[in-house]
Each structure stands twice: as C-alpha cells, then as structure tokens.
Amino acid sequence: MTAGVTIEFDGLSKTFGAVQAVDQLTFHVEPGKVTGFLGPNGAGKTTTLRMLLGLVKPTSGTATFGGVPYERLPVPAATVGAALEAASFIPGRTARNHLRVHASAARLPASRVDIVLAQVGLLEAADRRVGGYSLGMRQRLGLATALLGDPGVLVLDEPINGLDPEGIKWIRGFLTALANEGRTVLISSHLLSEVQQSVDEVVIIAKGRLAHVGTLASLDAADTLRVVVNSPEHERLAAALDAAGYLYDEARSGLIVHDVEAIDIGRTALAAGIPLSALSRHRSGLEDSFLALVSGGEDHA
C-alpha cells in the first residue's frame, strides 16, 4: 500500500456552456479518515470527482493528490483507486476478465485480481458475465477495481447506492478499516443518512458551491437544541410545559420541545410529579441541518 496523501482542491471551477456546475471549490481531504462528500443530485459532486481524476478538464483551479494531478502520477492506479457511479462495465465480459483488463492497462500485477475479488466477496461470481450482475454486485466490482492497485487514496462515487442492508453494513466496516490503515477515503452521497455512520468528516456542496466543511459533529452543533418527551399522562405534561413557557410541537412519538436541554424538561416533569415514558435529545438534527445547508445554497444561485 502506498501512503495516503491529502487531496487538495483549490479554486476548482467548471462551466458547461452557461451553467456553472462547480464554483470555486477549495478544501482538503486528509488521510486516515473517511470523508463524506455530500450534496443533492445535480450539486456538482460527480463533476468535481471527474475533474479530480482527469476525466473532465476544469475551467479554472486545480485538484491534486498532494500537489500532483492524477494524470501526472507515475502509476495512477497504485496511488488512487476510484469507482465512479457511471463507471459501467462491458456486459459481455466476466468480472475476472474486467479486472485483468484493468490491471494490464493500469500496469498492476495480475496477481492482485484474485485478492481484490476475495476482498469484496465476488470470488464465486468472478467468472460470470457482468451483464447478469445486480446493482449491488456491480458496486462491489467497482470497489474491487478501485482496490486493484492497493492505493493509499480511495475516491468512491455513491458507493452505498444499490447495496442491500447487509452490503451497507459490510461497506461501512470496510471503509472504516481502510481509513484506519492510514488511507484517504473520499465517498460521495446525496443522502447524509446513508453515510453518517461511516464518515468522520463532511464536505457539503450545493449548486456547485461549498456549503460546509468540518467534522460530522460540527454539523450537529449547528443544529438547534430539541428534546423529545412523552408521558402516559399526556395532558398533564403538556400543561406543565405550557406553564413553564416552553415551545413544543405535537409528534407521533410525543412532544418535541424547542431550545431546551433534556435535563430541564426532566426537572420540570419531576417538579410536577409527572411520570415520563420517554426523554431524549431529538436526533433528526443532522439531517435537518444538512437540508438547511443544502437549501441555503440555493439562495446563492
């Protein structure tokens, strides 16, 4: 394995005709972590990754691996492994042959083919034509292709899309293990919920512009505090909250109280002698702040 290097985006922009697809993106992706590259469909994620990999020419700015553009890496696939969403396979070729072709083109040893097939759990299906593969199996083959060069950097476009629950659990553990080995792991998704259990860092873009960069926790902190509370004595709880002057919404799971810590609601209920059946921090905050950031991006446009 080559060491993970920092992926550096610097003022990266792309214009397709009159459309500004990617607008002045500047951020770094560090080794040893899984970074989620998030944004709604059409936000410019795929175009950004394709510019990073030399498939699309930037209008301005650069995207490099520790300062070196993809096409100038001595053996690119040994430094960077990539699987892109549209990276489709010739349907008449078997998975093993697809990997053999890729290994020979990328100047990687053919002995790696069986290793990566085993790594992604495709060894038994390796001699079947890819045309008969499910979306989940294609995702695994894409990942196997990315891993062929045992690279220090992995760039994966929507790797979780199309996986079954078992596959999702598997890939989460797999990506975390890769990052723990010191690799740089960048995965894109249009759903925060899809990756929030796998990523350490998030980069969020909307309408081609950077909306947020930071740890997953930093996204949480941006959220307003909310608490879910419920009681078998629903009416009395509502009355006590009214009396204490809290603002709340009725929800199926109970009452959602705004701008408050759980302990304050607990004390209020205790003082009024109301038994509680539920009391917790409202956890949809990440998704909410993600959506707020993403729709905030629309205002720029």
Partner: protein
Amino acid sequence: MNSLMAAIRSEFLKVFTTRVWWGLAIILFAYVGLVAAGAALLFANIPGAAGSSGAGGAQATSEMLTQPGLIYGFATSIGYVFPVLLGALATTGEFRHQSLTPTFLANPNRGHVLVGKILALTGVGALYGVIALVASVGLGGGALAISGVDPLLTDSDTWALIGRAVLAMALWGAIGVGLGAVLPSQVGAIIVVLAFTQFVEPLLRLAASFSEVTASIGRFLPGAATDALVGPSFYTMMSAQQDPLTWWQGGLVLVGIAAVISLIGYATTWRRDVT
C-alpha cells in the same frame, strides 16, 4: 513497462475477453470460404474452361476468372469489412458502455490508449486476414484443384499475394478504430461501414472509371487501394483502371487513411470530457 505497451496489451485482452471477435471470425470464414469455393467451381466449370474444348473467347474469360489470385483475393475484396467492423466496435463500445471512464482511469494518457487500440486491432486484423486466407486458399484453392485448375500453391507470387492480403486486413483493423473514434455512435458507425464498403465505394469506383480525371482520383478510394495492395479483384475488372497504384502505394494509401481518420477522432471525440 511503459504506458503504451500496457495499452497495447490491455487492448488485446479487451478483444479476446468478449465474444464479438470470434462471432465475426466465424462469419468471415464461412462467407469468404463459400464465395471463394463457389466462384472457383462456377467459373472453372463454365463451358470452355480448362480441360474442355470450346470457343476461344469463352476460354479466355474462364481462364481469367479462374486465376487463383482472383479467387484468393476474395479474402480481402469481400472480407475487409470484418476487421473494419471489429475495429469500429472496439472504439464505439467504449463510448456506448461508458467504459472510457475505467479505461482513462487506468491510463490517463489518452494518446497512448488510442495508439494502443490501433496497434492491437491491427494485430487482430492480421489474424482475421489469416482466417480469411485459410478460407479462400483452403476452400477456394481446393475447389480449383477439384475442377482441374492448378491452385498455384507452390508459386511464390501466390504467397506474396497472401502476405499482402494479411497486411491489408491488418490495416483495415486500424482504419476501423479511427472510424469509431470519429463516429462514436455504434449504430452510426456500423451503418457507415456497411453502406460505404458494400454500396457507396463500389458505385464510386464504377462512376470514377468513366473519365480519366476521376479515374485517377478513384485510385485512392480505400477499396481501390486495397486492390492495388493485394491484387486485382472483381471490382477492378468492372472498372478497368488505367495506371493503377503499385502494391506499396496502395498500402501507403491505407496507412494514410488510418492515420488521418485516427487523428481526426483523437482531436474531436477522444479528448472530450468524459462525463
């Protein structure tokens, strides 16, 4: 190993890891073999052919038609569409299945990838040449021998013709790759290949032969150049040209067509953003 050698190797692997190449090879063998054997039997057995006594004119025609070279030349005169098709499919398939993404990820040097494809398909074109000649010499020559015509297999001229025919098929493989780069639409490329080789070019050659000026231009049509390289075919006889190109000039014309068309493809579709 540098990236050009890697590109050539992987382009060979691409051809031999899908079924298209042998599907086309089987059709090529059957088509060329049947036409060559059928023509040999037909022409050798018309009245006045070698062995029977007939009118002098008919005998001359029959002797001309049963020249072994003409029968063996079916390998290229009707077979050249196969390496072009395979070459065009090798390029258009990358566009159609969006496999240019993994191809350019594996080797970002796009020039090397295209040259590698051209050289690999030149090799496979030569293999098609060998297959087509086994058909035309094996079956056509066999039919000549059965009909009492000497198949001239000990003649060095025959073997020179076979060598030039393999070269022609190889060059047509390269032309196919370039054509596919110019016309990335698979259906479009197939239609153009079939229409041009089976219909447009034969008509153009016939039309060009009506005046001296057009005839001198007609010599540079790809099929005419192939005939110059390999030897006279039925098309040549239909459109009797004055002063045809020599064999090496014909070969250079094919190399030139392959180079120009590939450069156009490289400058247009091959360097585009892959989205």
